[in-house]
Amino acid sequence: MNKEVKHLISKYFNEDRIPPAYAAFFGDISQLLDARQASASRLTSVADAALETVRRQLKDSLNVFGSSQDMDEYGRDAPSLIRLARRLKKECADRIFRQQKLLREMKHLKTIQSLASAGSWELPVINDELQMPGYWSDELFAVLGVRPGTVHPTSQVYKNYVHPDDRSYLAAAVGKAIKETGRYDIEYRMWRGEDPQQERTVREIGELVKDGATGKSTSLIGVTFDISDIRNTERALFKANVELRKLFDVMEDVFFSVNMEQEKLLQISPSCVQLYGYSVEAFFSTPDLWFTVIHHDDKKAVLESNKRLNKGESNQVEYRIRHKNGEVRWVEMRITPTLGHDGQLVRIDGIVTDVTKRREAELALANSELKFRSLLENSNDAITVTSEELRFLFVTQSLSRMIGYAAEEITGTSVFDFVHPDDHVTVNGLVNAMEKEPETPVHFEIRFRVKDDGWIWCEGSVTNHLNGDIVRGYIGNFRDVTYKIRYRKALEASNNRLKKTNNELDRFVYSVSHDLRAPLASVLGLLEYTMSETENEDVLQDLGMMKMSIEKLDRFILDILDYSRNARLEIKVQAVDFHQLLADIKDNLKFLHSRRSAVRFDINIQENGTFGSDAGRISILLNNLVSNAVRYADPEKADPFVEVNIAAGPEGADITVRDNGIGIAKEYHGRIFDMFFRVSEKSNGSGLGLYLAKETVDKLKGRITLASAPGTGTTFNIFLPSLFK
């Protein structure tokens, strides 16, 4: 076979599959070409018929390609046939090439449609009406969720896949495109596989194709693609963007990045306006602005700490800046460096945060801590924290000042090393008390060892804070009270001495009064006995005078006894039974003044509730006043009397002692309560009676007044408050 023909076939055909007609044809051509090469002249003599056949076959073949119109140019001569053959060859080659290209493009289109979830379609249009059926690409079926070819590609069927709410919208867009605009581009919802659960969003672009000659619409061609994923992504992106924007808007921190090779600011976030007072533009136009605003005292430290960035270590530094408005603010800067391949610093990214408030709070805290500590250390009270095992965990300097040991010497040692051996039992008692009631201070007085100088007394309290939040342990605070304790001990001793003296005095008064009284009583008894044994008037008169004298002495002793008791004895408050009290007084009168019992003794008592006072003292008081009334009764009066009126209750007692005795002249009223004062030489009292009455009333926190006139009588008005609390 001719080489050229062979080459042609190999180039454009699959040699094994050349149709038989073509194969014969190619054989003929090959022969012709070979013959021509052998002898052109011989050829001319070859039958024209054969050439004509070849020519006709070539023409028919070319007709297949639709290019027969100019066939007449080619003659029956060999060169013409060769040209014809060449043309056929070319046509064949072109066609094959186009077919292959088309195939390739179809493949691409299909792939593209599938990848893009984009289905294409075409519907015929006649008289501005959509016709059925049309063409749906395989991918359109896929978009609809059905297998290609399983449904008819009509707009009626298509409608079923469209979301019911969007059907009229789609129809309107299509209608408008056909009648007016010629194009539409809309989005609508689709129910994939007619399943409402599989709702998708699609975008559809349709374009009207018109006949160039008539200007009439011939078809509507378009593409429908599933954009659900895109929309979802967009929506998510939008949301993320919004959130990011929000974040940026509220973000007070300033972000920045710097290209360190060119020392060029790459970016800085807009929050710099709030933090620094300078705009983003200001930072870009003035590269060292960030450094300029740093507080003078902090500049060096910032630079120093930034050096670590060169080693690839991130840096965090706190410093002060001066805001554009003049304020000083504390910021914290955190920088992450990026090193290049050669180990050089190429870029830094950082955040600057305003920490003024935190810093101020920290400073305030540190300040208050400082104050607190200084208070602790300068206080005269020692403060200690001890463990449960009674080892000192913490002691203040004040303890060192107090006992002479350094805080370091004390810390870690046992409490017992510093407490007087006699007080160890006290310490154990404290621990027991604290265990019973945690967080309740327990008071103590303990002797502490002083370096090289014996012991000091410390007074204070200790509290169980073993379960405390901040400090765990027994917290004690105490002070040196050695002088106080010594003073108190001295006071106690002297008080005891006084008490003893007092007791002795009391016993002395008691025994003296008794020792004096006993012989008087004996003499008095004998006198009375003797008087009852004799009828001799003279003797009786003498004995009577003796008796009076002894009685006077006896009363004097009694008064002194009463006085001493009133002055020294504690007030014994109890409910006072005035009835009993006055009955006793009446009894006393009978024995002490039997000779004058002619005086009438009237008693009126009104008790409304309980009156509390010292019954013993009230008895002394009333005894004195009543016996005075009896003693100084007016012998001229026909009916001498003494009348005691008492109205007593919880508020107090009003007492009047009234008589119609000889009375007291006005000028003596001011003095009758004085000690040893006697109105006249005729009065045979001790001069102690009314003094004692007044003293007693004072002791009972009451008051006493008198109204008296010679010849009329005397009235004492007394008020005593109830001493019940």
Partner: protein, 135 residues
Amino acid sequence: MDSNNFNFEKVMVVDDAEIDRFLAKKVLTKHAFAREVLPLDSATNALNYLSENQENKEALPDLIFLDINMPKMNGFDFLEEYKKLPESVKKKCIIVMLSSSLLPEDRELAMNNPYVCQFLNKPLTGDKLKDVGNP
């Protein structure tokens, strides 16, 4: 007064002061208070007497006048020891405190003692005797 009509058969007077024992005896006799007065000069002797005669009902006193202030053993000490004597003794004897003490404490202490039925202030007189034994 009928000399056979005595208030009490036998009255003991316990007092360290001779003059008071003497006076008591005179007054008690004069007012026919006691047929027999038994003066004893100390609480110890009085207790001894009571103890020795605890079985002899005739010898035991019907009433005892007891002084408080006495040397060695005072009236209250006597009462403490008296408590230990057999019931037979205590049942027969009435005790009256007779003292020159006017201290309310003494009176109170005496009256709180179950064996003391009365408290009298010295001196002992005929008037005071009227109330003794029938309070």
